[in-house]
């Protein structure tokens, strides 16, 4: 009878849809024998494939699954899941965020095999075994578009203070520290270089010249690369990368000192894949891994490995400030709030 067929078909259809949805929900990967390692990271998307390939070559039983987003978003996601963490390991995220998460009890201590070969400044010194271990540093830099600079008659800045000069009014963008890790390391470094009072005074001056604040740390440099704005406060890796692609950029390392942060990893306290997470931790401190870090970044955790990277500013390592991560993590919320109150209210963009 046709009606019965209709009903059966419809019931089957709904059931199939439900089963499909359920199977999809459970992640479909149950058939694979490999350990699925869920890794939360803020490393740029174009590098991740290489890390996965190289790691899985050495540990064929483990299959990395990335959860990638910008520093602010990954940190927010991790905090949102605080009571019920999903990640197995957090890998390649700003140390400032890792310290903050560690204070929330997010990680379990583990000393990766060979961790003693790293520069001690890159390893959590507050806990033994360490809760987090650093991989490499990313460093603030200024991207200056030479074509647009020439058109507008702007001199190439050489210091941070230069950027507060009236000539640059409306020609500078920087990342909003509230959403970007790079933005925060800039603000934190200025406060550490000059102290609170002078640091905020500098930012008051800079704020007068800022055209807009971006959400991500790489956008200022990409906008400088496309000439949308002449000057973008960003980080050296992004600048070098754009310059390599042919953008008319000069990458400036201001002389007062450069803010920087470490990309680091920490094993999540309740991971169900502890062995695989430790595999990745062990692998991440090897010479091989450090050499890979050095492909794009000039400063890595293992001393003596780093070779200069194409188009990075010269002497960039010498300009890195002495960075106090514990201070930065402890004061992050206060600084962000103060920043937001002072500069978040720029309600109307400036006319030129």
């Amino acid at each position: 009878m046709r009606v019965r067929e209709y009903c059966q078909k419809s019931a089957l259809f709904v059931a199939a849809a439900a089963v499909g949805l359920f199977a999809l929900g459970l992640g479909g990967g149950a058939a694979l024998a490999k350990t699925q390692l869920l890794v939360y990271t803020a490393i740029e998307a174009d590098e991740l494939a290489m890390f996965k390939r190289e790691f899985e070559k050495d540990y064929p039983d483990v299959n990395i699954k990335w959860v990638r987003d910008s520093t602010g978003i990954v940190t927010a996601k991790l905090l949102a899941e605080k009571n019920n963490p999903k990640a197995d390991i957090v890998w390649g995220l700003a140390a400032t965020s890792l310290v903050m998460l560690a204070n929330e009890g997010y990680f379990q201590g583990y000393a990766p095999k060979g961790v003693e070969k790293l520069d001690p400044a890159y390893v959590d010194s507050q806990n033994n075994p360490p809760l987090w271990v650093g991989q490499r540093a990313w460093i603030a830099s200024v991207c200056f578009n030479t074509v647009e600079g020439k058109k507008k008659g702007l001199p190439v800045p050489s210091t941070w203070q230069d950027l507060t000069k009236p000539v640059y009014k409306g020609h500078v963008v920087m990342p909003n520290p509230n959403s970007s890790g790079t933005g925060f390391l800039d603000v934190s470094s200025w406060l550490q270089i000059w102290g609170e009072e002078k640091g905020w005074a500098f930012m008051d001056g800079l704020h007068k010249n800022i055209a807009w604040y971006t959400h991500s740390g790489s956008k200022p440099c990409k906008q400088a690369a496309s000439g949308e704005i002449p000057i973008g406060i960003s980080f050296a890796y992004r600048g070098a990368k754009s310059k390599n692609k042919g953008a008319p950029l000069e990458i400036v390392a201001p002389t007062e000192g450069l803010g920087w942060d470490i990309e680091a990893f920490g094993i999540v306290r309740n991971t169900k894949n502890l062995a695989a997470a430790r595999n990745l931790a062990d692998w991440s401190v090897t010479l091989k891994a450090n050499k890979i870090y050095n492909k794009e970044y000039a400063v890595v955790a293992m001393p003596g490995v780093a070779k200069p990277v194409k188009n990075f500013p010269k002497d960039i390592t010498k300009k890195m400030i002495k960075n106090d991560f514990a201070w930065a993590a402890a004061n992050r919320m206060r600084i962000l709030k103060k920043w937001q109150t002072r500069y978040g209210a720029k309600s109307l963009p400036k006319k030129k």
Partner: protein, 569 residues
Amino acid sequence: MTEGVTTLSAVAPKARPILGRDDWIMRWGLLVLGVWLSVAVVLPLYTLLSKSLEDHGGRFIGLANFAEFFATPVLFHSIYNSLTIAIISTAITITLAFIYAYALTRSCMPGKAIFKGIAMVPILAPSLLPAISLVYLFGNQGMIKGVLMGETIYGPIGIVMGEVFWTFPHALIIIITALSMADARLYEVAESLGTSKLRTFFTVTLPGARYGVISACFVVFTLVITDFGVPKVIGGQYNVLATDVYKQVIGQQNFQMGAVVGMVLLVPAVLAFIADRIIQRKQVALISARAVPYHPKPKTRFDMAMMGFCCVVGFMILGIIAVDAFASFIQLWPYNLTLTLYNYDFDLRDGGGWASYRNSIVMASYTAVIGTVIIFAGAYLVEKIRGFTVIRSLVQFMCIIPLAVPGLVLGLAYIFFFNHPANPLEFVYGTMAILVICTVTHFYTVSHLTATTALKQMDPEFEAVSMSLKVPFYKTFWRVTVPVCVPAILDISIYLFVNAMTTVSAVVFIYSADTTLASVAVLNMDDAGEVASAAAMGMMIVVTSAGVRALHALLTRGIARTSQAWRVR
């Protein structure tokens, strides 16, 4: 697919004390729907509300967070900005849409079908897309930035332009409906009394379309105030509530304050919603049974003027899409204008690569299929059940709530509700299922109203007859109701599909590594400065939605011929 009528008249015959098997099945069905809607709408919103009343550690602190919000000038100022943007955008959109609709309904200009099709294009794009095009057009390296005479596009000007583009078709659909219902006799009377054209317009046309225009105003206002894509890309330093929620949650990990801004965002949306409901209720039938449909007569000058206007608007709409398409093929704007497919290599970029695109299609298909089944069956139950008044009104109310809940607020509520360790449904968090549930819920109301309207057009006698013949209701449902309502069912599914492809606001908080979406990838690539790739992904969404839409048109035509033959005598 616009506003429907929600007031229910009891269609079922009254005074039937004995409940048959059918009644019990339907009652259970309605209960299941009620539970579903509670889980998908009511409980998450409740969790959000309670979150806004808690401190960082989860202790109840009353209204302290709200006090802090209103004491923070930055945040407070955003309310003013949001309202300004929403009011200006609404005024411009409604004016343009009204003239455009007037041209389509009251003139004899050629090419009406084409103009109508062009006007619908923005619906196929995520709201981020016009904003990206505006940057290419009017940004500091913009193609025609001189037009702005030194004003910057990053800020209110850009937001308003983007919002007008994006909300235009929504307003247009409603106003076309309102203008199509006109009684020719009124115009004949006006003419024979020697009333001037202008006077006729203000005394006959406008009053007739009044409710439609008001309704369109509320729809556009709500869309603008809750939209997140346009201000995110082009807002510059101009803060609005929708981007504040994002900054609070994503930037500062301040979930409590995010929840507070979410609740604040709910207020204008709910007020607009309630006002609209009250006004719609006052609407009396303008078209009596004796009405004569109005047919415009050719008037060369007027028709040409109208066509000129439509050409300008249509050109702008297509222009914005074309700029986006062009930008997606450029190597490095503005320094290297070689054409390339490089920007379509999404796997090298943020946002999840091509997998995001595939996920979006899967998600949109699930949303269309499952959503249509739930929504249509649900509307049927609500419409046809006998008795059970209290539960029915309750469920009916729950079907309407989603219209007043901005996507951002819904998404935020879903994190709090579904990622709670004590929630037995916690396992859906981070899966495709939660995205489907969220999207179906987000677009529930409009689909529900479409289904209800279609069901109301059916004579209740079908049920009465089958009941007296002792045919179970589900047989009637399959053999009569569904075939009759096929056009509405297809409309609902295409509406769900296209919206699932383009939505950003609700899903931005709940996608996971395995379930990155194309629309969110547009956002993330733009965030990372990969604007050309963002434009490219935007184009993929537009092309896909347009393709499915075309398929839908073919399907509707084919099916209508077979299943709708009864409508034609």
